[in-house]
Amino acid sequence: MNTLEHLLQGFGVALAPVNLLLGLIGSFIGTVVGMLPGLGPINGVAILMPLAFALKLPPESALILLTAVYIGCEFGGRISSILINVPGDAGAIMTAVDGYPMAVKGQAGVALSISAWSSFIGSFVAFVGIVIAAPWLAQWALAFGPAEYFALMCFAFACITGLMGDAPMKAVLAAVLGLALSTVGLDSNSGVYRFTFDSVHLSDGIQFVAVVIGLFSVSEILLMLEQHLGQVPAIRSLGRNMFNRAEMALTWWGTVRSSVLGFFVGVLPGAGATIASAMAYTMEKRLCDTEGTFGKGDIRGVAAPEAANNSSANGSFVPMLTLGVPGSGTTAVMVGALSLYNITPGPALFTQQPALVWGLIASMAVCNVLLLIMNIPMIGIFTRMLALPNWILVPGILAISAVGVYAIHATTFDLVLMVALGVVGYLLRKAGVPMAPLILGFVLGDMMEQNLRRALSITNGELSILWGSPISVGLWVGVAAMLLVPPLYRRFGPRRPAAVAAD
């Protein structure tokens, strides 16, 4: 079957009534989660993942729900950026730069609708990119052996640490901690229990859901304690709701450029929506800012980062689906979700489970349309939700998180572990250690060790196999470039604002 037939099959899956309903629910929840400052896509996906599993949804439906939440978050983040000047999620930081000034000028409605439109274009460009690139990449990746996989995972870590900004050492630290957490439990090759301290609860390894919810949701709640006093009142008057034809023409090429850029950044493992939107904004400012209006409410400065943000979020599915190596923290959580179903993502998935893979890809397009409808005519519903006070919101998040963790094993141990990891995560985040590499390490740890051991088994311990093929040599060169270029660029290159931690 060719790509088009597969895609049609995928739309068959995505448009099945149950999956369409899940896409709708997921898009709505995603927009709300993305909009609320402090809650990003990782939190949304992490909280819904165990619930989807506990609801006994089939794997493709669960994935469609989680994908809808993820894409919805990228749509939702812009709402609070524009209305209260606080990004709803990390990818929407650049949207606030011009979005909030537009809202102050009484053009909040225009800013919201043009950013929804450019988000839609961004997601659509990425969808086309995925349909073209993913099968091809998966075909290519079938030739990967254990040594190539090991090198590829090292490349993913190099990307996520090299692009992390100020503190690459702390990103390495986070990745190693995540890898170390993944070694807890029974070693399946030798039957040895590692780091279990003779506890039954740890013999099967640390519960993935407890780790993700602890590190992201619980620690986020503790971080939110610092901010709740300084809540800015949301801008009430939205002004004209719809952008007009002139505004659309003005932003069109910037939107398309940023979408393409965002897709490529998203495909790169480790680089996320935050970096993509910052790059797109900088690019548009260089290209178009002849009158110095950027930063003072220029509509082009709203459209470009939103397009890049969304296309990069969609693009980060490419490495996850084709290589099994997630491209962002959120897709790392999705790999964990698949592991609950005993599915290992990777190139073989395209041939073994085409309904799952293509259903997921098609659902991106479906959810994108749903989100556009939700985010332009129905925007009022969401803006009203911004008024929900934290003292209702936070206990609600905590209770739903606990339900999710409890749903997997029904033990008190996992709940205590969730809180303990939340406190550890809070302390690490206060010390400047990013969480995304940690979760990537935790998800990839087992695969990385297995591939290393398998590769070395082939040569009976000879290390040379790790750089024995052109693909792995290329990947190691990539690792070196990722680790060396950003610090050198920061030292010798032009000064620019450092990107904040990736999504």
Partner: protein
């Protein structure tokens, strides 16, 4: 300063990991790389990172929300309430535990006691019926099992 402490903690953790991993050996081994190698490798990288941070700490705290600092009281209250929630979740049951957790946690976020109690009960009952009864995600009923139907 934060970086130095972090670095020293890393070194300690790396030492503990290496020491624990030292004893991991397969009884019968089929492969050249056993269960000890990967943890030891990680411990080595962790030690290097720790050493780097301890010797060459960054200039300032670049943590999230740097500069800002939550007051100790709400922070302690929230952590304590969350821990109590985790420990009492099964014994009290979801509804009561959630209602009890909501009051101190919501208090730290500026809520008032009575509305919080109402919110807590509403959350507990609402989520219980949503998940346990509608979605069939089984939650503990605890002390209220005689009302909610113990399982």
């Amino acid at each position: 300063m934060v970086d130095r402490i972090l670095g020293l903690l890393c070194l300690a953790l790396a030492a503990a990991m290496a020491w624990a991993a030292h004893g991991y050996a397969a009884e019968i081994s089929y492969e050249p790389v056993g269960p000890r190698a990967f943890p030891t490798l990680l411990a080595a990288v962790l030690a290097l990172v720790g050493l780097w941070l301890a010797v060459r700490p960054g200039r300032a705290v670049a943590g999230e929300g740097a500069g800002a600092h939550a007051a100790w009281l709400p922070l302690g209250l929230t952590v304590g309430a969350m821990l109590a929630y985790a420990l009492l979740f099964q014994w009290l049951g979801f509804v009561l535990a959630t209602a009890l957790m909501t009051v101190p946690v919501g208090r730290s976020f500026g809520g008032r006691p009575l509305p919080l109690l109402a919110t807590g009960l509403g959350l507990g009952l609402g989520l219980f019926f949503l998940f346990d009864k509608v979605f069939d995600v089984i939650l503990p009923t605890g002390l209220l099992s005689f009302v909610l139907g113990g399982r």
